[in-house]
Amino acid sequence: MSLGYYDWLVKVIVLGDSGVGKTNILTQFCDSKFSQNYTATIGVDFKIKILNVQDKKIKLQIWDTAGQERFRNITQTYYKGAYGIIFVYSLIDRNSFNNVEGWIKSILESTTDEVCSILVGNKLDSQDRRVQTAEGEKLAQKYNMPFIETSALENKNIQDIFDRLGQNLKIRLENEGQKVSNNIHTQSGQFKLNQEVNQTEQPTSSCNSC
């Protein structure tokens, strides 16, 4: 019966350069699959997964974005209402690491909300590493977020991304809950949380970018 039950519904977006493995991380996490024969994400992809964090269930609504830089204009329209952000680069693609800071800044510029972020270096399975662990750690420290190296191919540390993100989300949501002082645990009021937060933080929210 409790299959569809959850305590919070949270919007998470995945950002990073094209080809770093964003979609593969998500299919591994949500569907326990890795597909060698995948297609490039165009527009946006969407996945759902319920995450257990201690005694709470967080329903993650994950938006998977197109990585090419020129789509950023559209990608930014998904930022609104996001609680969690996963920044991904590829350990074998130096450029994708250099560009991560650009992605982080684009978030800092466009949203004043406090978001829970995590930095992910993917493709740990490959022998041809171009970005050292210490570099990733340093960058994560600079922006005060957790850091993890993963392999979507070998399903290594994928669950950890979401566990660590989930813990931070839970802390934040509980604080939020105390602030707004209301309990949301109905299935029907699916979007209540986001809406209420939007209302309290930005009374006249309008999205005129599209």
């Binding site: 094209s18 789509f71 559209i74 809406q195 999205c207």
Partner: protein, 396 residues
């Protein structure tokens, strides 16, 4: 020996073709009679309504093989001919592959493409293309080396041809489908049977791609500004024609239609679709341009309106829009084709319109046009006498 079997094959093909033409004309005549009856019944009713009805359901005669061959030399098509050609391409079974392709190519301006194929694009463009050529495929054919090599070469050549665009994701899907549709390999069974090694005409594919990209330049240049105009227009169309969908999406926290629909434009609806669906899109695009894309999206949404409104969660809505909607709509279209109703369906949904059909406002302006047309003295006289007689008869 070989000659004779070939002839036989051709013979059977021709008879098949004429048979299907006969069949469709026959049915068309039948429908026409029905419509004539309808018009008679409508005479007492509102004249405008009659005109509307009449316009929509006039049966379209399909081209036969000889007519199609003559078309190959033609450059410009009138509206009626376009409609006739569209109907033929959609409804006619058994048009030979090379015949079809020759018709497509009448729309294409070709030039010398060698200079584009011989240069290297900037490194950044090359890198992005390389990332995507291996992950474009959906059809099995897309994953062999010949195909990937063609895709690579044509995308590169295009980046040289139009450095303002270079390469944007989505172009790989469109270009990939062009390659699938224009390559002899996999389409022309006769040549395959002869077991020749086929050398594909990459320049032909290139110019076809150039042609399609022409009207979509603002969609693919850096920053993809053209998407906003298209989404805005789409929103307007949905609002006028099936506003419930818009309200439903809003109540699901989607206030920006980019989130659900932007990929349709960047891939010309061809992502993860079967080849014949892509062929349909290509043919209609050649005839009606981007208006077809808009009308087709809205028509499809309208078709599934009730289903969409019942989906109360984003996790159902998003995969439906992304993966299932068009493929299941295509199955419906196939059924309509079998029943010889597909042309009618296309007309009713404005898929053959020159412009995106906005809904109510456009009907009003049409009526205005009709009214203007009507103020020709002769017509007024006609109408008056008709009405008077009607009244007199009615009174009696």
């Amino acid at each position: 020996m070989k000659q004779s079997t070939k002839q036989e094959r051709r013979g059977s093909f021709d008879s098949q073709l004429s048979n299907s033409i006969f069949k469709s004309n026959f049915i068309a005549l039948d429908v026409k009679k029905q419509i004539d009856d309808q018009i008679i019944n409508y005479q007492g009713d509102d004249e405008f309504e009659m005109l509307e009805k009449q316009q929509k359901n006039i049966p379209i005669l399909l081209f036969n093989n000889d007519q199609l061959i003559k078309l190959n030399k033609k450059q410009n098509f009138g509206d009626d001919q376009k409609l006739q050609l569209a109907a033929t391409l959609i409804q006619q079974r058994g048009i030979k592959y090379l015949q079809r392709k020759a018709i497509w190519m009448t729309f294409i301006e070709k030039g010398d493409a060698k200079k584009y194929f011989s240069k290297q694009p900037p490194q950044q463009v090359e890198q992005q293309i390389k990332k995507d050529i291996n992950r474009t495929g959906y059809d099995d054919k897309m994953n062999n080396n010949k195909y990937i090599n063609l895709l690579h070469r044509i995308l590169r050549a295009y980046a040289i041809y139009n450095p303002k665009i270079g390469y944007t994701q989505g172009m790989n899907v469109i270009c990939g489908n062009i390659i699938l549709l224009l390559s002899i390999d996999g389409n022309d069974r006769e040549l395959e049977l002869d077991n020749f090694e086929v050398i594909e005409d990459e320049e032909e594919m290139f110019w076809m791609f150039v042609h399609l990209m022409k009207s979509m330049e603002d969609l693919f240049i850096s920053g993809v500004p053209g998407i906003h105009r298209r989404i805005k227009q789409l929103e307007q169309m949905i609002q006028n024609r099936c506003n419930e969908i818009l309200l439903h999406l809003q109540s699901n926290n989607i206030d920006n239609l980019c989130q659900c629909f932007s990929q349709y434009y960047f891939t010309m609806l061809m992502q993860k679709q079967e080849k014949k669906f892509a062929r349909l899109i290509l043919e209609m695009f050649l005839l009606y341009g981007e208006a077809f894309i808009q009308n087709f999206i809205v028509g499809t949404l309208q078709f599934y309106q009730f289903k969409i409104i019942k989906m109360n969660e984003l996790e159902k809505l998003m995969p439906f829009f992304r993966d299932t909607m068009f493929s299941s709509y295509y199955q419906e279209l196939k059924k309509l084709k079998k029943q010889n109703l597909i042309i009618q369906h296309f007309q009713q949904n404005h898929y053959f319109d020159k412009d995106p059909y906005l809904g109510i406002t456009q009907i009003e302006s049409n009526i205005e046009k009709q009214q203007k047309r009507k103020f020709i003295p002769e017509k007024i006289l006609n109408l008056l006498t008709k009405n008077w007689f009607g009244k007199i008869l009615g009174q009696q």
